[in-house]
Amino acid sequence: MRDDATGRESVPGGEVNPFATKYTRLGAVEPLEEDGRTFDPAAVLARLESAGGCGVFVGPHGSGKSTRLEACARAAEDTPRAGLSRAVRRVRLRRRWDLWGTLRAVLGMPAGGLVCVDSLEQAGRVGTFCLTRLARLRGVELLATCHTPCGLPVMAMCHTSLELLKRVVEQLPPHAGLVSQQDLADAFSAANGNIRDALFELYDRAETARSRQRS
């Protein structure tokens, strides 16, 4: 456990499905690059600063944008600036009206803070423009996720691969006897490369395998 970190131990009971949300939810899995290398949030935060304080992760559904955003938010919280802990705010845009709450979040942040916005595409072009202008005026950094480039500096283009799914699954509780390498390939293909959906598919396959074992 790092000096500033959270540790966890779990003594399970019952039968564990390693693909349950408990093990795959945001923050539970270490973010990885497409080729399986460990994602470095500190490098992104440094790039964000040199890019003027606004940046975006771009990629399709289930490609790890939100996972990377959360890793960057945690890294920012854990890295004091000028000896002071850094204010970090997370916002998820579910619909266009949520933009007002995001603008208020930027207004309420002290200079040097970081606002992490998930699903910036919901804000639209004008909303994105207003948000970035306000962030720059306030001296607040803005890091977001978006499905397509939206005019902000791109911190990373997120892609997936079967290798990436395998590396994600390696981080989960043991799954021997529940799913095979072929299941991983089939789930990845069935989910069209969406890692989140592939994990849902693997949950079902693990449950089916367990039911077979019971009967």
Binding site: M1, D4, V11, K22, R214
Partner: protein
């Protein structure tokens, strides 16, 4: 894991002993347990939270309900001065432990240690309430009534 200058390596763990080794209880029974905190060296624990709760486990949204919660901040009752503790709580009538396919219900005891600084450590220990049989797939699809 890192070493803080002049201190022992921090590898916290919490050993929990339920009063019933099977860890299986009936609804509305009282659960009694003892715990022992180890691996914290000389590190000062500023607070312990101990709780009992149920939670859902599956592939969608998660839910939970807290049955018992207690926070200890008195240094005399915290590591390194005192490394063990005990508590008891009465279970409600429901929900019971359930091994479903889409969703499972688990009960657990959590002991959470808050260290000086921003560190914390959560130890979770699952136990069973009731004896519901696990969900089983239908061998044959039900036939429609004539």
């Amino acid at each position: 894991m890192s070493r803080t200058a002049g201190q022992e390596r921090l590898e916290p763990r919490v050993v929990v002993n339920f009063d019933r080794p099977s860890r299986r209880y009936d609804p509305q029974e009282t659960v009694r347990l003892q715990y022992h905190v180890a691996g914290t060296g000389d590190a000062q624990v500023r607070m312990i939270e101990r709780s009992a709760l149920w939670y859902t486990e599956g592939k969608g949204e998660e839910d939970l309900g807290i049955c018992f919660f207690e926070r200890i901040t008195d240094a005399e009752h915290l590591p390194p001065t005192q490394r063990q503790g005990e508590f008891a709580f009465r279970l409600p009538a429901s929900p019971m432990t359930y091994e479903g396919t889409i969703v499972k219900i688990r009960w657990c005891v959590r002991v959470r240690l808050f260290f000086k600084g921003r560190r914390d450590f959560v130890s979770e220990h699952v136990f069973d309430v009731g004896e519901l049989p696990p969900a089983m797939p239908l061998r044959q699809p039900p036939t429609a009534p004539r």
